[in-house]
Structure formats: C-alpha cells, structure tokens
Symmetry: C4
Subunit: 219 residues, 4 copies
C-alpha cells in the first residue's frame, strides 16, 4: 500500500492489490450512478412544467405546441450531455478529486435547466428569458469542458489509456458558439434563437463529414 509518485494521489491506492477489478467498478460506477440519477431526474421533472391548457379540444392542444417544442429542446440538450458524459466517463477507470468536483459543478449547471426552461415558458419566450436560457446552456457547456479537462488530465497520468479525440472537442466548441450566438439573437428574434439552439441537436445526431459523432471519443 505505497503512495504512488503521481502528481495526484490516486483515490483508491488499494486497487494495486488483488481485488483490483471490484474497486474500479465501485469507483467509476458510483460517479456514473449518481450522475445518471441526477440527469434522469432533471430530464424528467421538466415535464412537470408542462401545464394543461384551459381551453378544450384541438385549440387547447394547439396552444401548448410551442411549450412542447421548448420541452423537446431541453430534453435533447440534456440527452446530448448524458451521451457525452457516458462516452467521456467510460474512458477512465478511476476517478480523482478533480473529476468528482468538476462533475458536481457540471451537474449543478445542468440542474438549473428545468428552472430556466420554466422561465422561458412562463415569460412566453420573451427576449430576455430566451437569452437567459441560452446563457445557461453556454455555462453548462463550459462546465462540461472543465470535466473534459479533468478527465484529460487523468488520462495523461494513466499513459496506458488513449487520449481524447479532438474531433469531439471541435464539436463541443461549435455547440458553444451556437448557444452563445443565441444570446444576442434572442433580442433580435426569440424564435430564431430557439431554432438556433435546436439546430445544435443536429450537430450531434447527423454524422458530419463522414465521421460518426460521439464515436470518436471512445475509439
């Protein structure tokens, strides 16, 4: 049980002994389990913000279509980050303190999304609320990049593991640019800003230039 000469003291030095696998499963699995739990609650409680219209029949349903569209945008945003989180955390075998704190910061930013979603809904997508919504996405995106940096740092220490792909990094920066663009756009035309945010989903789903999105990170 000797402290390794790492710049960061590994959290679970006992995994040098025989029950190596069990420890690793435990360490990564709990970070994943907690994050999955938080993201699952975030993605689902947003549906509580959807309000049944007063009007009856088709007219009532038609009146809530914009609301459903915004719910769809928020759901997609959270789903994309869950996918990226899944691929990123899958790369490491052990967490360290830096990763744990970066992960909590990311979850904090993401946890505000249901609030900013209901902000947009209650203010009926006025310029300021849409700008706020886009800003919260920019901040969440930045916090994810911090988590990525923390994991890259870990991968550099454990040299046996392959580095992260830069293609995904470019995709993240492009997404941030789109979210950032939505802030001024909201003052010009709120619906255009929402369309711009929704467009980012396509960046992640449609393979760009023959490359398979999300795949690169785990290749």
């Amino acid at each position: 049980m000797h402290p390794a000469p790492h710049p960061i003291v590994p959290l679970y030095p006992q995994d040098t002994d025989q029950d190596h696998m069990a420890d690793q499963l435990a360490s990564t699995s709990r970070l994943e389990a907690f994050s999955d739990g938080v993201i699952a609650v975030i993605i689902t409680i947003m549906v509580l913000e959807l309000k049944v219209p007063h009007e009856n029949g088709v007219a009532g349903f038609r009146s809530i279509l914009p609301t459903l569209a915004i719910y769809f945008i928020s759901f997609s945003f959270t789903a994309i980050y869950w996918l990226n989180h899944h691929h990123l955390v899958h790369r490491i075998e052990q967490t360290d303190q830096r990763i744990l704190y970066a992960n909590l910061a990311f979850l904090f930013c993401l946890s505000l999304l249901p609030f900013f979603t209901s902000y947009v809904l209650e203010k009926e997508s006025d310029a300021f609320s849409v700008a706020l919504y886009a800003a919260s996405m920019v901040i969440t995106g930045f916090s994810f990049l911090l988590l990525r940096l923390a994991i890259e740092h870990r991968l550099r220490i454990a040299t046996a593991l392959e580095p992260l792909d830069t293609a995904i990094q470019r995709k993240h920066l492009l997404s941030l640019a789109f979210y950032g663009l939505a802030i001024p756009l909201a003052y010009f035309h709120p619906s255009l800003a929402l369309a711009d945010i929704a467009l980012v989903t396509l960046i992640w789903i449609v393979p760009a230039g023959g490359t398979k999105p999300c795949d690169e990170d785990s290749r």
Copy 2:
C-alpha cells in the same frame, strides 16, 4: 486498436482486449441504469398529479376513484414497457449509437405520459383528452418498435446471439392496434376507450395460447 470491418463501427473497440467483460458490463449497464432512472421517475411523479378531494369522508374518496383508475392505467403502461425494455436490452451485450438514440427517443415519448395523464385528469376524461392520451401511447409504442429494430440490427451483426422472437413482435403490434383503436373510440365513448387501453395490460399479463408472455424474447 484497428477499426473492425463492421457495417457499424463498434462503440467500444477496446473490448477486443483483455478487460472485455468490464467494458461490456459498463456499456450496457449505463444505458440500463439511465433508462431505469428515467422510467422510475416517470412512473412515480405521476402520483403528484393525484389531487386530494375537497369533500370529506367516503364521498370524497369515491369521487377520486376514476382518477385512481387512470393512474393505474398509466402505471401499468409504464410497467409493461419497463418489462419489455428489460427483456430487450438484456439480449444485447453492447450498445451502439443507433440503439442509444432510439432509446432516448423512446424515453422522450414515455416522458410525456405524466403530462397526458394529467391532461386526461384535468379535462375529466373528455373525448379529445382521451384521444390524445391514446395517441401518446401509440407514439410511445412506435418508438419502442424503433428501439427493437435497432437492437435487432445489432443482433444480426453479432451473429452468435439469437434473433428476437416474432411472438412478442405480434403482441406489440396487437397492443398498438388497441391503442390506435382507442383514438376514434374516445369520440364515441371516452370510458370505452379507457377500458380498451386498460385491456392491453391483460394481453401482457395473461399468457396467450399457452405461451409465456415476455419469456419468448429471452428464450
């Protein structure tokens, strides 16, 4: 770490090396864990829609019995899909991007169920709200079939695994027909449409023609 000559690039090519099992467990387990989390929240937050009646005593409780019946229908619907999801995902050892996206689309559709449940409750089961409720079930059912297709595609690649049983497939199509039938039925008689939806639960619980439901998929 050479790209395999598959039609789909496997997400976790490193599972060709020695820590094969750990990787597989991780990949399937996180898809399952996240889905379980989302479905657990969906099935449980619907209880928040149940409102305590203003009236006291037995009369008050009797007035909310229709509400409890609709909660029961929504709970059963979600439970049946959890069971089917459980059996389906259990069949594969690895996820791929197609499966991940199909799964997210399925979770999105299912996440709207609490909203459409409260729609029916607030509109007191009028024709349009019941038709909407049935339509949301049809869409969720279709999204599950997409997930099933994505998993069948995966199973075809990994030829060592057994194909999905077609008996379950017939059961799914029968369920969809019943949910679809409930849409026009809602305009004829809403309660009849709800009874028709509730009937689908029996298709899944009662073994039809000597076969064991749900079992076939994993046989």
Copy 3:
C-alpha cells in the same frame, strides 16, 4: 449447468453457457436498480407535500410539527419495506415472471403512499383519512407478502438455496395486524391510530426476543 426440469421456463436460458455470472448479475441487478429508483423517488417526493407555514417564527414551526411527524411515519414505512425488499431479493439469483409482476404490484401499492400521506395532511388527520392511510399500508403489506410468496416459489425450485425464515414472516403478519387495527382505531381516535402505525417501526428496529430483526432472512 444442465437445464433443470423446471415447471417454470427460466427467463434467461442462455445462462447455461459460459457467461453465467454476468447474466445473473444483470437480471437481479435490474430488478433491484428499478425498485431502488422507484422507492428512492417515493421516499423523497413526499417532502414536496410539506408546506411552509404562513405564520412566522417558532409558532409557525410548531404548527407544522404534526405534519413532520406524519412525514416521519411515511418515511419509516417506506424505509422498512426497502430494507425488507433488499433482504428478500438478495436471496435469489434469478428473477422470473411471477417475481417481476409481484414486484411491480408491490411498487404500485407503495407508490400510492405519497398520495395518501398528502390526503392525511390536507384533511388534518381526520378519521377517514387516517383509516385510508392505514388501509393503504395494509394493502402494501399484502402485496409485499405476494412478492415474498413468489420468491419462496423460486427458492423451492432452486433447491440449492435455503428457504426463507419464518420469524420474518411472523413479523410481517404482526405488522399487518397493527396496520389493520389502525383502520377501526382511526374512527375512535385518529392520533391513537397514527401512534399504532408508528409503533410498527419499533417492531422492525428493536430486536424481539433476542433475535436480530431482518438478519434472519439472510442467514
């Protein structure tokens, strides 16, 4: 690992091949993960029923103490059933359809607890609401016994596993008697009925007659 001549077709016949352990882990783990998720949401969303008093200062807080007491009773009830569920499911290595359906029935009954808790809170513990609360606990208790029966059936098939202890069974029946007693008691004196329900927690925590509660089941 020969296919046993079972009356029930095993859900995962492929565990006759080499990756036996992985399959078992998967099967039990998903039942547990989903149940844990649902119970975790049930136990936590009850806190949303707690309303901040209008009155300021100590007087306001004192006015919500009965509310907190009922929250504590509901939390304890759920916690006891989680503990028992934990010990029970731990005994089996594989689930079957009977267990899966019994488990869903149990989760359905338990999921109504937050509703009946808010019923008691809004009706300020009047006789009918307390009787309803106790009745929902009786039904949940019965559904747990059904789950226990399904698991006992499984254990009888897999003869290598030890049968369930009858001491726990007696404790369950005693709890049911107490919950049942609370129904008529509620009409006599609601607070007495609540005290009777709270008393059941002690049956599970305090070791009765030198035996260790909950332990027996897994011995």
Copy 4:
C-alpha cells in the same frame, strides 16, 4: 454455513463460500444505489422550489439572485455529503444492520433539506428560518457522524481493513461548529449566517494545510 463468532452476526454469511465476490458487490452496491437515488432526487427537486419572478427582464432576474444563492448553498451541502458518503461507504465491503439503519437516519435528515430550503426562500431569509436551516444542517451532520461510527465499528471487526483517518473527522467537527454557529448568528444577521454556511463548502474544497481533503479517508 456456520454462524461466525462475531459480536455482530454478518448479514451475508454465505459469502464465506465460493460466490464471495458477487455477494459483496450486491450488498454494498444496493446500499449505494439506494442512497445515490435518494440523494440524486433530493439535490434535484430543490430546483422545483425556484420560482420564476413576476417582473420581466433583467430586474426580474436580479430579484431572484438571492434565491439562486440559497439553492447553490443547499446543492453544495448535499454534494459535500454525497462525496463524503461515497468515500466512507467505499471503505467497507459489507454492510450490517447498524450501518443500514444509520444510513436511513442520515437520508431522513438530508431529505428534509429541500423543505427547509423552501422555508428560507418563502420567509425571505428571516432570522428564524435561517436558524432552522442551519439547525437542520447540524442534525444532518450529526446523523452522518453516526453513520461514520457504525462504519468504524464494522472496520474494527474486519481488522484487515484500515481504520478511518482522523483528519476527516476533525473536518466534520469543524463543519458542525460552523453550522452550529450559524444558528445564533441568524438572529444577529441572517445574511451573515448564510455566508457562514456557504464558507463550509470551502473547508471541503480547498486543501487545508497541504492535506488533500476527502482523499485521506480512502488512503
């Protein structure tokens, strides 16, 4: 299957036989999974307490900044306890009844945090509500120390495992002192009390005196 001569009867005596590892994973993993689920819901439903301001534009957003600050304090508090729970439970390989009950008591205390957070928000951080908020943190902190004691007891029995570090213990006591101090401070100046509570986050994030916080426990 002989009962071991321990002062506490081990919950899973069958882990003396060959499927030792699977049993251990099951036992610790379900305690962790349930705790993760409960903590994930606690940390996330607090966002439902955030209310969209009536006022439009920047002024409206500025008016909710104190609310966001309190949400941040509650999130940090829960996150710190999740981290500590993670490190603590990671140390043991098996749970026993003492640990299970201590864990449930801890989760009960923590589950009240969303309620006391909304208490502070609705009373607009008046002296009494802030004192109550701090008091709930003190009680949660004490319940965590009970869990720590239960785990220390387990570690003493399983002598092969290393004892818990006292540096973390000091940090816990220091945190409790800060939370305790906030109670009288709330009557002097509520904002000062909130700042004092927020300060505790720094104790856990910033390494004190060259030691790595949280790491010691698992070294």
